[in-house]
């Protein structure tokens, strides 16, 4: 190995990021690149394993090893393969890797991206970040020190993250004199642990990374081991094919209508998680239940494809144009639908500095949907490093795993983990930070279940008009929206609602005041007067509003002291197109209104209501334009 002229080695040059070419370049298929995360307890030798892999796979940049050895000699510090990875100065100071970094190399079989995840307990979120990008994992255990808490915790998290291909490296065999017994002990104990969490390791390999035994070179000192070296075992792993045979799930990222250069396409965009979609397929969006057919599959700079499959970031247009929004899941009508509910039972791992608490507001992000959530019940808390279970806990601490039930502010479409892993996964956000992740185990029935069922049936049998929602919206310069003015018994809800109707009408809006009395004595005459009929009155109010919304109107209604549950039912009935304004200074029910209207002047209240409708995108000035209707789903939008 020769040392390059100094001018060719920039001092920042980072080894961990060098692609390593082997002598087999021509044979390596371009297509195949396996990403592998390396995990394990701190100081069990992860960085050394990677350093060795790089050095022995036959292609560190020329002179790099010598340069590093030289530097170590000058600083009177013993050379370690782990130094190859310490790209940041901070890390060298601490002696531990602090974040996921990537290393590229190649064998005769394929390319690899090794994702280096840290083992220090403080940095679990980085390990998860690294692991979630991987298709396989190397888990390193120190033969002398044995299985430690993070050996188990990482194994458990790999299984939750859905990584099924795991190679367990029993490292530092040189420190146990290359004997078989300590290896076998570790294997027996760790395989037992993996068994309990339903994981099967592809291979256990005895290695000594610093001297290089069984990494790329078979070791005579471990002659009792007949299995593959690390490099051979890696080459035997398979890239997972995209899940095209599972039902179609495409979380909608956006609906684009860019009008520049006379583009008239309205494209539903998203990445297909599972399944396949063809032109002509009937698609159903959940949770809204809206249906249409695929007219075209769109693509930039190439002919429109006939089909899109799992893994593809794609987009399609519909034969009947619908108002579909980000957060829905596109599915096929001829395949099983996802679950839709506001209550879910989940397994969740918590990373937050603050504990996970019942009744604290969180946000759940699943696919592209984003809903407010709170913890209803903590069923049990699991210590992932011992598998010890605690019942009756009222909080979940950092790095613990729990089973709990979540209550969501809006219905969510998803699958349970046994039906479809991809759409069962979610993260949980506390204020501005992702603080945990989880998988949905079970869809729990909620009080909306029967209403939702009715609405699905209604929409399935709905007689569609030739005039699309979009054409109406364009003509009227507004998006249909139901605004309910609610509040205390004595508050003048009707007065405010009528005043708003009049003012909007004067401004040229297509608006209608829907009085409760108009419904109760007509449509509801069959149930009027019977006790306990309030729920049914409100449902019918919702159904009538739904027809008016379908006609493209802004509907203003008034109702006394609505509860969260009642609004939820109306929301289900009108397919989410509802906002609530509470008249008065404080809310006396459990409702979280979209707008609080204190007792100020009429003008002030009217301008607040108008502004709110405008911000919602219900009214636009001029013609409809992608920018003006573009929803922004930042943190401020969820509340």
């Amino acid at each position: 190995m020769s040392v390059l002229p100094v001018s060719n080695i920039a001092s920042h040059e980072c080894l961990s990021n060098h692609r390593i070419s082997s002598t087999f370049d021509e044979a390596v298929p371009e297509a195949d690149c396996l990403s592998v995360v390396i995990t394990g307890h701190v100081d069990h030798g992860k960085s050394t394993v990677i350093g060795r892999l790089l050095a022995d796979a036959g292609g560190l940049p020329e002179g790099k090893l010598d340069q590093l050895r030289g530097e170590c000699e000058r600083n009177a510090k013993p050379f370690e393969y782990a130094f190859l990875l310490d790209a940041l100065r901070d890390e060298q100071a601490q002696g531990i890797t602090i974040d996921a970094a990537r290393v590229f190399f190649k064998t005769a079989q394929r390319r690899y991206m090794i994702i280096d995840a840290p083992g220090h307990v403080e940095f679990l979120k980085n390990m998860i970040t690294g692991a979630s990008r991987a298709e396989a994992a190397l888990l390193v255990i120190d033969a002398k020190e044995g299985i430690k808490e993070n050996s188990r915790r990482h194994g458990y998290l790999l299984s939750v993250l859905g990584i099924s291909q795991i190679l367990v490296l029993v490292n530092k065999m040189d420190l146990v004199a290359y004997q078989r017994a300590p290896f076998e002990e570790t294997v027996a104990e760790y395989a037992g642990f993996l068994d309990q969490i339903g994981v099967h390791a592809a291979q256990f390999i005895p290695v000594a990374a610093q001297p290089g035994d069984n990494i790329a070179r078979r070791s005579d000192r471990l002659a009792w081991y007949a299995g593959p070296t690390v490099l051979e075992a890696l080459d035997r792993l398979r890239s997972e094919p995209p899940p095209t045979s599972t039902p179609l799930r495409m979380p909608v990222q956006d609906v684009y209508k860019f009008t520049e250069r006379n583009d008239t396409r309205r494209i539903v965009a998203g990445t297909i998680e599972t399944g396949r979609l063809r032109i002509g397929d009937e698609v159903v969006f959940h949770p809204s239940g809206k249906r249409s057919h695929v007219r075209t599959i769109e693509a930039f700079n190439r002919p429109s494809p006939l089909e899109a499959i799992a893994g593809e970031a794609t987009g399609f247009t519909l034969t009947e144009e619908l108002y579909v929004t980000r957060g829905e899941i596109a599915t096929r009508a001829d395949e099983p639908p996802p679950a839709v509910t506001t209550r879910i039972r989940v397994t969740l791992f918590w990373l937050g500095r603050q504990p996970l608490l019942p009744n604290r507001p969180y946000v759940v992000k699943l696919g592209t949907a984003k809903v407010q959530a709170r913890v209803d019940i903590i069923h049990r808390v699991l210590d992932a490093s011992t598998l010890g279970v605690a019942l009756d806990r009222d909080r979940v601490e950092r790095h613990e795993v729990c089973e709990c039930s979540l209550a969501l502010s809006r219905p969510l479409a998803f699958d349970t983990v046994t039906t479809n892993k991809a759409t069962s996964r979610f993260v949980i956000v506390d204020e501005y930070e992702i603080c945990g992740g989880g998988i949905v185990q079970e869809a729990l029935p909620d009080r909306q279940a029967h209403v939702r069922e009715k609405v699905l049936q209604r929409d399935l049998l709905w007689d569609p008009s030739h005039v699309s929602d979009e054409r109406r919206a364009e003509r009227y310069g507004q998006c249909p929206q139901l605004l309910i003015v609610t509040g205390e018994e004595h508050a003048d809800r009707k007065g405010v609602a009528r005043e708003l109707e009049a003012r909007l009408f004067d401004r040229g809006r297509f608006v209608y005041f829907l009085g409760m009395g108009n419904v109760v004595h007509g449509v509801d005459s069959d149930i009027s007067g019977s006790s306990g009929s309030r729920g049914e009155h409100l449902r019918r109010l919702g159904e009538i509003a739904n027809i008016l919304l379908d006609a493209g109107l802004i509907v203003v209604a008034a109702a006394a002291a609505l509860s969260a549950q009642e609004v939820e039912m109306i929301r289900t009935t009108v397919r989410q197109r509802v906002v609530t304004a509470w008249l008065g200074d404080h809310v006396s029910t459990d409702l979280a209104p979209d707008l609080l209207l204190p007792n100020t002047t009429a003008d002030d209240r009217m301008s607040r209501l108008k502004e709110h409708l405008q911000n919602r995108g219900a009214m636009f000035s001029g013609s409809m334009h992608a920018k003006s209707t573009r929803p922004v789903t930042g943190a401020d939008d969820v509340a």
Binding site: N17, F104, Q253, G437
Partner: protein, 293 residues
Amino acid sequence: MNHLDELEHRSVHILREAYPAFRNLCMLWSIGKDSTVLLWLARKAFFGHVPFPLIHIDTSFKIPEMIAYRDKLVAAWGLNLIYGQNAEALKDRRTFPHGQVDRLTCCQLLKSEALKHTLSGEWPRYRFNHATNDYEPDRNREPFTGVIVGARADEEGSRSKERYFSPRNNENLWDVADQPPEFWQQYKTEFAPGTHVRIHPLLDWTELNIWEYIERERIPVIGLYFDPGSGTRYRSLGCGPCTAAIPSEARSVGEIIHELSTGRLAHVAERSGRAQDAADHGGLETLRRSGYM
């Protein structure tokens, strides 16, 4: 689906996640190959449109062909281009080429500072007017809260630690040791007032992938990357005074790919022609923590 397809789909997905998450979103375009691939991916993601402004920081020392190439694509693709610069430092000649400051300080002033104040809206922004074919002061001074950047993990040490969505605090600083977790394609789209998020759709791409993709998609990259016959070409583009051409006779994208994968460049760092890296001993980290791209 091959590896390039996978990279493309992931990048497109990230761009589409960024678009609805930030009211004021922009993309940095350095004119180099990476951010030009990023621009191409944006056109893929949004079916031929680029629905946010492109920001170019003009140090005034860029190799002249770069500005000509920029304005040509802006016109041809109907791009919304905004440029900003550190007018004061340039006026006072506090630059490395003028001999008043060292390379790192020059980078800090003409790039990091100019970028920071252009993004925040404190310094003037100049927007290309397609009707007049000229740049004019932009009336919009709102700060950008989402900034799409073409950084790749394999470029140098500090970039390999990046997230796809990477928060920056109100001082534009990057806290490498305490980054948010990022998994299952869920990104940090919630952020406190005054902070912003950088978005890195190209994080998983290597230099070789970039060239393979340019070849496959026939993306028009600037001619400076090719040997005009002098036996040298640029491998990485920056300011004229601090960017050296490398010895290479690659005249086409195909020849560059060959050179990178099996030829003479397979083991030489990409930014070896960039002098400020050497000045910032230890992997560009000093520059990047304080806002360098």
